[in-house]
């Protein structure tokens, strides 16, 4: 099966007054049709920029895709004209953002914000678009959809707004949805509902999902594949079971240790990842995780490890000691 999305050696840079920031520095991964892929990393690891790059929503200036290809259904999105790109956005790829409170326009009705996408991409008339909007609201579990369509965002709760955002993303039956931290701004109970909803809908409608998160714990249950990002690069990638059960990068190990778990004794202390994410303008030739790594050796300071196979099939790690550390207990 050929991949739906094939990101190859993507580089996205920001030119700032202080210098060039390589927010995404040579990232490659694929997403199969209907597959859910998680991209995990700390704030500033480049995961959101990478996702926004796919839709070319990075404000330029200062941001720019400097290298690489983004093959979506066989077409390279990087080379598309603005007009062709516009048709992909919302038409073939839907996007859900982090902040449901501010991602909807406060002065337009919910209905308008759904129907305008249909009118834009499908040339639907008002009545058809309205019918589809009612259908979509029912699909994302909003009761009394006819009434909700006439309401404004401020009349809805955060969870409901995120459901609306999902409905907006699904409007034109896209093949891929990119969700950038879709649950971060929500209450924990609502988070679970939204994730369930997204998992259920993507399965039912056979939509691929790229879900960006900083929370390894939440992703665990929903993604088939996990990509771990650090300082603009992928450091580990593989089937979710392999990444969780047999992590091969010290950063992933540290992230897994930092997830609070209900199955551990109450006295067990949280173990956060030591140190701070690196300054992307001051990266040297070595491994970017080195200063925070408890497995670092001399070679880590001089050259950067490439993403290479480790452990089971499809599992990759960018660590020189990818095979040695497998034996190290996760809770070390």
């Amino acid at each position: 099966m050929s991949a739906l999305l094939d990101v190859r050696n993507l580089h996205t840079e920001f030119r700032t007054g202080a210098g060039v920031v390589r927010a995404v520095d040579g990232v490659s991964y694929t997403v199969d049709p209907g597959e859910t892929v998680a991209i995990v990393g700390e704030s500033g690891s480049g995961k959101s920029v990478g996702a926004m790059s796919i839709l070319r929503l990075i404000p330029d200036p200062p941001g720019r895709i400097t290298e690489g290809q983004i093959l979506f259904a066989g077409r390279d999105l990087v080379g598309l004209s603005p007009d062709e790109m516009r048709k992909v956005r919302g038409g073939e790829i839907g996007m859900v953002f982090q902040e449901p409170m501010t991602s909807l326009n406060p002065v337009l009705t919910i209905g308008r914000q759904i129907t305008e996408t249909l009118e834009q991409h499908r040339g639907a008339d008002r009545a058809t678009a309205d019918r589809r909007a009612v259908e979509l609201l029912s699909l994302v579990g909003i009761s009394d959809p006819e009434r909700r369509l006439r309401q404004y965002p401020h009349q809805l709760s955060g969870g409901m707004r995120q459901r609306i955002m999902i409905a907006v993303a699904l409007t034109c039956e896209p093949k891929l949805i990119i969700a950038d931290e879709p649950t971060t701004a929500l209450d924990v109970t609502i988070q679970a509902q939204i994730l369930e909803l997204m998992a259920e809908l993507t399965r039912r409608l056979n939509v691929a999902l790229v879900i960006i998160t900083h929370n390894l714990g939440v992703v665990a249950r929903y993604a088939q594949r996990v990509n771990v990002m650090y300082a603009g690069r992928l450091v580990e990638s593989g089937p979710a079971a392999a990444v969780y059960g047999d992590p091969r990068h010290p950063y992933t190990m540290a992230l897994l240790r930092s997830v609070p778990r209900l199955d551990k004794p109450r006295q067990a202390r949280l173990d956060p990842v030591d140190g701070q994410p690196p300054d992307l303008m001051r990266l040297d030739g070595g491994c970017a995780f080195r200063p925070r790594c408890r497995f670092a050796i001399a070679v880590c300071a001089t050259s950067r490890p490439a993403l290479e196979p480790a452990g089971t099939a499809g599992h990759m790690s960018a660590c020189f000691r990818r095979d040695e550390i497998a034996a190290a207990p996760v809770a070390a």
Partner: protein, 322 residues
């Protein structure tokens, strides 16, 4: 909504009474006496005739009685007669208000037509040469006194018409109403309206630009782009309606100021408007006329603010349903 409007109208009553008290007291604190102005230019003045004049104008009564008289008359729609001309105040104002109102309206139209598109374009192309040109024009508009611009525009019309037709042409100076002779009327008011509209548009343009810049950074604009909407929908439907809120407030305040605030411009263009009447009334210590004009201005401010609030509610559902 109607309740809201009614509420606002009732709230304006204390404002009006406060303004009335203020102008009443201030006018009487200014040194000078209308009877002295009326009776004598130079030379000696007979105290008896001054007293006689005071009695005639009702100025010999206690301040309290004068104030009650003023308020009661105002409430009943009776503004009294001008102490200077002896004509009813209503008549004095009625002959001047059309020209002031017309210029204020036209200047507002000119300003909105220039400011909102240019401010939007400027924000969309921030820091481009286009943005710099627009901002320079705006700064010039704020820095240039309207009266100077007025004089220059009159001179330009004279020079250009002289060059083109061989004979200098000047707009007529005797005002006719728009309904009687639209062409003549417009040829009189268009220059002042554009002159004032330019400064007005400069202020509005800067406000539109900064409001747009702020709105364009909002998450919902990114959402609109992520939906693949064409740019004009992103700008007009999503950004502009949100950015217009502060702009509407500004337009309201400026509009209210234009009626009665155009003293110098009216002088330059030889227009017999409210601004000049105001200056005349204060100079002559014409209490009744000044009081009525102040009340008129306050009323215009109150009404304009109300219109702005209603527009706000129309633009922003959070206010409408809040």
């Amino acid at each position: 909504m109607y309740r809201y409007i009614l509420n606002r109208l009732l709230l304006s009553i204390p404002t009006l009474i406060g303004a009335a008290a203020l102008v009443f007291i201030l006018m009487r604190m200014i040194p000078g006496d209308i009877c002295v102005v009326r009776l004598g230019s130079g030379g000696s003045i007979n105290p008896a005739s001054v007293a006689n004049c005071h009695a005639q104008l009702g100025l010999d009564r206690s301040l309290f009685l004068q104030f009650v008289d003023f308020i009661v008359g105002f409430a009943a729609g009776d503004f009294g007669t001008s102490m200077w001309s002896g004509k009813p105040v209503i008549q004095e104002i009625a002959t001047r208000i059309p020209v002031s109102l017309e210029i204020a309206l036209l200047a507002t139209i000119v300003a909105v037509l220039i400011a909102i598109p240019l401010g939007t374009i400027s924000a969309l192309h921030q820091n481009s040469w286009l943005d710099h040109v627009v901002r320079t024009v705006a700064i010039a508009g704020i820095a240039t006194p309207s009266f100077w611009l007025g004089i220059m525009s009159i001179l330009m019309v004279l020079e250009v018409s002289h060059l083109v037709t061989g004979a200098p042409w000047m707009p007529p100076i005797d005002y006719v109403s728009l309904w009687d002779d639209p062409l003549r009327n417009l040829s009189i008011v268009i220059l002042p309206a554009v002159t004032i509209g330019y400064r007005y548009s400069a202020v509005t343009m800067r406000m539109t630009r900064s409001a747009m810049l702020e709105v364009l950074r909002e998450d919902y604009i990114r959402t609109a782009r992520a939906k693949g909407l064409v740019e004009h929908l992103v700008v007009n439907r999503h950004a502009l309606q949100n950015a217009l809120l502060p702009v509407v407030t500004l337009i309201g305040i400026e509009f209210a100021f234009l009626i009665g605030g155009l003293v110098v411009t009216e002088q330059v263009f030889n227009l017999n408007g409210i601004g000049r009447l105001f200056v005349l009334a204060v100079q002559n210590q014409d209490y009744t006329l000044t009081q009525a004009l102040v009340m008129l201005t306050v009323a215009i401010f109150v009404v304009t603010n109300l219109v702005v609030d209603v527009l706000y509610a129309w633009l922003d559902p959070r206010i409408r349903f809040g």
